[in-house]
Symmetry: D2
Subunit: 81 residues, 4 copies
C-alpha cells in the first residue's frame, strides 16, 4: 500500500503492523485462557472464584484502603441490606 507521508511516497506494508498485532492478540488470549484455568483449579480446590477475584482486585489498593472498603461495604450493606 502506498502511503504519502509528509509529501513522500512510501511503500509500507500494513501487514507489517497487523501481523504483529494479531500475533500479540493471540498471545493475550492464550494468557487469558491460562488465567481462567488457574481460577478453575482454585475453584476445584474449594476456593470461591468471585471472592478470589474481588480479593485480587482489592490487593492493588493499600492495606488501609482495603480494610476501609471492606468495613464500609459491610456497614452500608447492614443499613441498606
Amino acid at each position: 500500500m502506498k502511503i504519502i507521508l509528509n509529501g513522500e511516497l512510501f511503500e509500507i506494508r500494513l501487514t507489517e503492523y497487523t501481523d504483529r498485532i494479531e500475533k500479540l492478540e493471540e498471545e493475550k488470549k492464550e494468557i487469558s485462557d491460562q488465567i481462567a484455568t488457574v481460577y478453575q483449579e482454585a475453584e476445584s480446590k474449594g476456593f470461591n472464584k468471585k471472592a478470589l477475584k474481588q480479593a485480587l482486585k482489592m490487593l492493588k489498593l493499600q492495606k488501609e484502603e482495603r480494610d476501609l472498603q471492606l468495613e464500609l461495604t459491610t456497614q452500608y450493606l447492614e443499613e441498606i441490606g
Copy 2:
C-alpha cells in the same frame, strides 16, 4: 431507503428507528448523569463512593451469598495481603 422484504419493495425510513434510538440513548445518558450526581451528593455527606457502589452491587445477591463473599474476600486478603 428502499428495502426488499420478502420480495416486496418497501420504502422504510431508517430514521424512524434511528431517531427513536438516539432519543432513548440521550435519556439513558441523562439518567447516568443523575446517578453520578446522587453519588456525589452522598460523597459530600461523607459516604465512600467506591464502598457504596460495591454495596449496591452486592445488594443484588442473596444475603447469605453477600455475607459469604464479604467473609471469604476478607479471609483471602488476610492470607494473600
Copy 3:
C-alpha cells in the same frame, strides 16, 4: 447510620441515596430494554443490526471523519483481508 462530618454527629440515612440510585438504575435498565426492542423492530424490517449500531456510533463523528474512517477501513481490509 451516624456519620461524623467535620466533627459533627449527623444521622444521615444512607437509604436516602441508595433508594434514588436503585430507582434510577431501574429506569436506565428499562430504557436499555426499549433500545433493544427498537433494534429488533428494525431488524424485523430487514435492517442489519450490527451495521445500524456502527452507523449510529459513527454518526457522532463529523462527516469528513466518518467518510475518512469508512474509506481507510475499506482500504486497510483490502490490503490485510
Copy 4:
C-alpha cells in the same frame, strides 16, 4: 489457609493460585502495552489508528459479512447522516 474439602482438612496455600494469576495478569498487561506500541508505530507511519482497529476487528468476520457490513453502514449513514 485450612480448607475442608469433601470432609478432609487440607492446608492449601491460596498464594499457590494467586501468585500464578498475578504473574499471568502482569504478562497480559505487558502484551497490551506492546500492542499499544505497535499501533503507535503504525500511526507514526501515517496509518489511522481507529480505522486500523476497526479493520482488524472486522477481519474476524467472513469476507462476505465484512463487505456487507461496510456497504450497509455506508448506506445507512447516507440516509441518517
